[in-house]
Subunit: 517 residues, 2 copies
């Protein structure tokens, strides 16, 4: 078998079943090998940001990595923004980057670039396969490294001649390192804090935002009076009727200051101490209240859900979690507003939905509207690199073909990775995109004021404005093979949203919503 065969065989044996791909010439042997080795599904993305974002979304739902296939440094560059988000999400990704043949690199051909330097900001695992005989072992190591708790980007750089050379050997899977268990002593130290009677905020993140962690956190809150918050941008948070409703920390520093006001102890479980998303003149970057003590129950590579459960057994043994009751908003009416569109979602959200949320300012009222909806998962923009929504929704739908995937997507961000729609059409994925079209980078209009750079200037406003011309996302979607419609009222949105959910395959609704601010 050649190197490509051994690579794919090893990946499949380690449970990697999907390869999101945007190949070039140096990856052609990998592409050909997909037909020779059974078990690997190749999914084409028409831009590498789609490929890497889809791998992120897939892993968030599947709980195991997909592979990517990227073409040299420029392909990796195009994929970096969504790899950045995946890194911040601690998502496992097996990131395969093709390179020139080993002997060809010295000629500095046009596509030659320093892939090793380019990949370093991901602070993940990186290996360059130096010989065909090593590819299998390198691939097995990559899959394990990607899944070592809490998860990371494992990049395997694959020179073309190493791929096409003969003498490859498939390698058996290597078990990844699970999350560190938190010691009894560590749990007891925090138990003492919780018993102190002081004002406490319990901040949860990572795996602790899944059911077990949420239930334990709710029991702790009930028993001790601690406030519980999820981190601002969780990788995956479970929500809805029958689960504890946990508020997320706000995006705005002033919101977090309000949420944590008066808190004496901040207890961290699977997340880090809160910091401001950006710096603002005259405002603190560190959002831990002055004088408060930070206690780490579980770091991001620890078993936070297990630690929370152990803690609940210590200080809330007889306390049940408080679960959200089923409750939905009425289907609203009238022209779309920042409030009523979220009520449409809350009113009609199907059971078991996956929401890929990149609604940004348009979505500020979404959590309330969906708190009592049927149980669902929400995926969020963990790294702040916009254009995550359409690809992550695509990957989530590949991972869970029987669940409805809903991409709540702001207009400005959508344009970065819009060709994900084509992949949704190609793969006939059940993704409904609600495109929140307010014809602006509305968040930047707000930020322009928050950083104290308020201006009524024409040039500045031009750079934050998405009108002249208005974007017609229904036409763009249709051009990419996705059936689309337009909604300007809540009734229209409700009708089109229900229809999109009822029909198989992808749909897009261009929802004309005024800016929140």
């Amino acid at each position: 078998m050649n190197g490509a065969h051994s690579l794919i065989r090893t990946l499949v044996d380690a449970g990697v079943e999907v390869c999101f791909s945007n190949p070039g010439t140096s990856e052609m042997h990998f592409v050909a090998a997909l037909d020779d080795v059974t078990g690997m599904r190749g999914v084409l993305g028409l831009f590498e940001g789609v490929v890497t974002g889809a791998a992120d979304g897939y892993a968030r739902i599947a709980g195991k990595p997909a592979a990517t296939l990227l073409h040299l440094g420029p392909g990796l560059g195009n994929g970096m923004a969504n790899l950045h988000n995946a890194r911040r999400a601690h998502t496992p990704v097996v990131n395969i980057v093709g390179d020139h043949a080993t002997y060809h690199k010295k000629y500095d051909a046009p596509l030659e670039s320093d892939i090793d330097a380019l990949v370093s900001p991901l602070r993940g695992w990186v290996r360059r396969s130096e010989s065909t005989a090593d590819v299998g072992a390198d691939a097995a190591a990559a899959v394990a490294a990607a899944q070592d708790a809490p998860g990371r980007i494992a990049t395997l750089i694959l020179p073309a001649d190493v791929s096409w050379g003969e003498g490859g050997e498939a390698c058996a899977p290597i078990p990844p390192r699970p999350a560190h268990p938190v010691t009894r002593a560590g749990v007891e130290r925090v138990a003492d804090v919780l018993r102190s009677g002081d004002s406490i905020a319990l901040l949860i993140g990572g795996e602790a935002c899944r059911e077990a962690g949420l239930r334990a956190a709710s029991r702790l809150a009930e028993a001790t009076g601690a406030k519980v918050f999820a981190e601002t941008f969780p990788t995956r948070i479970e929500r809805g009727a029958g689960l504890p409703a946990v508020e997320r920390l706000g995006y705005l520093a002033e919101h977090v200051e309000y949420q944590l006001q008066g808190v004496q102890h901040v207890v961290l479980a699977g997340t880090r101490a809160p910091v401001s998303f950006f710096a603002y003149p005259g405002r603190a970057s560190d959002l831990v209240p002055e004088g408060a003590t930070v206690h780490t129950l579980a770091d991001v590579d620890d078993d936070a859900a297990g630690a929370l459960t152990d803690l609940a057994e210590l200080v809330a043994a007889d306390t049940e979690p408080v679960l959200a009751e089923p409750s939905r908003p009425e289907v609203p009416s009238g022209p779309l507003t920042p409030q009523n569109w979220v009520d449409v979602i809350g009113a009609l959200l199907p059971d078991g939905a996956i929401i890929a949320d990149e609604a940004n300012t348009s979505g500020l009222m979404l959590p309330t509207a969906t708190a009592g909806a049927p149980r669902h998962d929400v995926l969020t923009l963990t790294g702040g690199a916009i254009g995550y929504g359409p690809p992550v929704a695509t990957g989530a739908a590949i991972a869970a073909p029987d669940r409805p995937v809903i991409n709540l997507q702001s207009d400005g961000s959508a344009l970065y990775t819009i060709s994900a729609l084509w992949t949704q059409a190609r793969e006939n994925l059940n993704v409904t995109t609600v495109l929140l079209n307010n014809s602006a980078y509305a968040i930047l209009r707000m930020e322009l004021q928050r950083v104290g750079a308020q201006t009524d200037g024409k040039k500045a406003n031009e750079l934050l404005d998405l009108s002249r011309p208005d974007l017609d996302f229904a036409k763009i979607a249709e051009g990419m093979g996705v059936p689309a419609s337009r909604a300007t009222t809540a009734e229209e949105l409700a009708e089109r949203f229900a229809r999109a959910l009822a029909e198989p395959g992808p749909h897009l609704i261009d929802a004309i919503v005024p800016p929140l601010l």
Copy 2:
């Protein structure tokens, strides 16, 4: 003045008049300053690959740099592919990357990443402004560094607090370093080679592909029998009636081997010795014929056009260049083919056109069809990172508002940076995009065979196919505010192309052309 004011003032004073921008929160003071400082035009791109590609196209035509404005590491990542192309084009670009406030970086907020590592593959000039007082001097140094011959990416990393801080000082322009003149002795050494009577190939690149270099090369060819070839992917090559017609080296290694067959000396003027674009099993990477001697008349940072002129004075003093006669193909008829669509372009190309050529396989017969057309410039894909065409056409049109810009664009590549169409509409640019829609990554179908990985496999073919669903580029363009039409015959293409050229503003023609192979 604050740091942003001093930055923009310094850029404008140094002749930088356009800033292609995709800002975020950390760049808001820069954005606000655009209204406070006169002379800088902000042009919004909806994706950073559009921003960087536009800066490349602008500089290729304007002969001086534009600035970019990018948001942190992810914004730079999105812009890297077209910066790679600009690097290979030796295009001057003042690449401004916003960063978190200096004191905020240690908090590792979600958008924090290692910008310095990410930028290093560009092998350009990099500086991080450490204090507001330095910004002006840093900016002046960046503009000079960008323009030091032969041109490069000069990246200025601008922390938010350095931008918003007071105490900025504008700085006077610093003269860039011009191209090194080639010594008399160096020219004479090559003159001896040309007089030898041996078989000689003269390869020209960079500035030597402009009129002065072309005329000198043609005189040398006439006087000595040397064959002249332009490099495979010139940054900007002048063509058409009244100029010497110079053949470009081929993309395929086997084509170059044919072009250089029997050559005993390869003389380089502003380019490097030819190498294969990719490695192929059993084929050489170095395309200099075996036994041939390579002579460097002028390196890429030397004055190649001047050296060629000096050389022509020595060995071709009495020889005139051979200039292409005006000649156009007939307007063809019938269903579009890889041959007749280029004849439509050749028949109707307006005087003074700028062609941004990313037609790839569809464009192989373009040079012949346009050789006798009115004088025009052709810009090419210098670095092989696809998605260069729409942004480069956008930037070229900003640089030359009175010239018709024609983007000959393959379908697969178009999707990487398709939102450039919106910027063309926003700025009402005279760009006509002829979208060569063959529903495939046709070049990869060819490459799959060339690398010896031939397969009839379904999975492999899926990854090279752009149908199911077909992309409707007319709808996509209309969704972005660009009037669009569709052509399936040569008559339709001719009618629509002529109409697009006659009407102001951007247009797109979705030309349904079968694959060449």
